[in-house]
Amino acid sequence: MSGITLVNQVKASKFLSGILTPVASAFVNASGYRKLGMRYDDILREETDIIREAINRLPENESYERFYRMKVACQYSLSHTIATKETALKPEDDIRYLTPIIDEVAAEFAEREDFNNIKSYSK
C-alpha cells in the first residue's frame, strides 16, 4: 500500500487513538460495506497484480468464504435491501484476512523490482 501513513504513530499514542478510533468507526459504518455483509479486505480494488497474486494465495476456505460474502452482497444489492442490525457484519468480524498476504506479496514484488534494476560492481 502506498502513501504517507501515520497509523503506527496513532496506534502507539493512547491520546490520539482515543480521539480517532470513534471517528474511524463512524466512518467505516457510514461507508456501509458491513451492511452488505462484507469485510474491508473484500472491497479492495482487485485489478492489480499484487492483489490478484495475494488472492491466489488465500487458503481454500478463506477464498470460498470471500466469494460467498460477495454473492450475498450482490443479492442484497439486487433486492435493494441491506442487512439488519443482527445480520450485518460485526466490527469484531471485520478481519483483515488479506492484508498480511498483500504486504508479503508487495514486499516480494518490490524485491524483484530492486533485483531487476540492480547495478553490479566488482569488489
Partner: protein, 391 residues
Amino acid sequence: MLSITSARKTLNLVPTLLKAGYATAVSKTSNGVKIAALDESSPTASVSLVINAGSRFEPKDKAGIAHFVKNYGFKNNGKRSAFRIARETELVGGVLSSNLGRETISFTAECLKEDVPYFVEVFGDLVAQTKFAEHELHSVATEVAAECHLAESTPEIAVIDALHNAAFRNGLGNSVYAASYSDISTEDLKKFASQNFVANKVALVATGVSEAELKSLADSAFSHVAAGSAAKAEGAKYYGGDVRVAHNSSVGHVAIGHGAQISAFNYGYSDAGLFGVYAQASNKDITEAAKVAVASLKAAAKSVSADEFKRALAQAKFETAARYESRTSTTEILAAQALQGHKVTAEESLAALDNVQAADVSKLAAKFLSSKPTTVVLGQASALPYPEALF
C-alpha cells in the same frame, strides 16, 4: 549389445567396511551439527547440507514426504525469499542443487571460495526457518510430479527402486520418489521438518574449505537450530522376492540382489546393504546375460583364483581412490562418515583393502548367495525370465 554392470555402482554406495580400527572423532558445533571438510587447493569450493532424513525415515502414512521436503529446499525462509536466494546465487556465480537418498536429503552449493560464508548462512536459515508456505506447494508438487514421471520412464531408476522395495519392503524399501497419490500438506511438511531439521541429524560438509573455518561459520549460522536427537532408523530387515514390471522398453532389464545385515563387509546403508548384478540386453539375449551374471557370482562363491583376486583388488583400489578425486563422491563419503561418526582417509581405505584375502571374497559371495534373492525384471514382461531359470 550386452552390458552387465555391478549394481554396486548404481546404488550410490558408501563403503563402511572400515568402521572398526580407524575411528577418529568428527567435529561438531555446540548444538551438535557435524562438520567435515576436505581442504583442496582448487579455486572453487562446495558446501553441502546433509540431513539424515531420507526416504527411509518417512512416516508410514506419509510416503513421499521426503521428496517434497527436498524440493522445498531454497524456498522462502524467514530471512530470504526463494527469489532472493536464486538471484544472489546467480550474482556470486554459484550453483545450487538438492538430492534425495534413502538415508539423507542433501542440499549443495558450489561456489567460489570467498562465497562460502554466504551459503553456510543460507543453509542455516534453510534448516531453522524454511516457511513451507502454502502457495509454494503447487509449484513444488508440479516439480515432484515431473521428477516422478522421469523416474518412471527411466528403466535404470525404476529397476533399482523396485529392487529396494522388494528387498526391504518398508524403511529402506521406501521409494525416493513420491507416488502420484501421495497426499502431503504443508502441515505435514512443517511437522516433518520440526522433527528432522535438528542439529543432531544435520551434517555440514565442504570441499575447498578448512574444517576449522567451516566450523566457525557453522557455529554462528546454525546457532538457532534446535539440538534434537540423532536419527534412529528402524533396523532394516531383508525380505527378498520377485518383481516383474511391464514397461515399454526396447531392451530387457534384470537386477538380482542379495541382502546382508551388518557384517565384515557392508556396502550400502548404515545398517544394511544390497549387493547384486544388473543386466541390460535385448529381450532375446537377456536370459543368457542374467545367467552369465549369476554363474559368475556362483563361481566366486566356490573359489577365487589368485589372478582374478589380484585383478579385482586393483580395480577396487582404483575405484576407492577415484571416489576421493571427484567432488560429488568426496562429499558423499564425508557426509556418510560424519553422520556415522567416524572418519577414514583415502590412504586408510586403500590400506584396509590390502587386508582382504581371496578366501574372504568367496566366503562373502557364498554368504550373499545363501540369502533369498531379490529379482526385478523390467521390460516386455512376457519375454523376460523368471528367477528359477537363472539360478
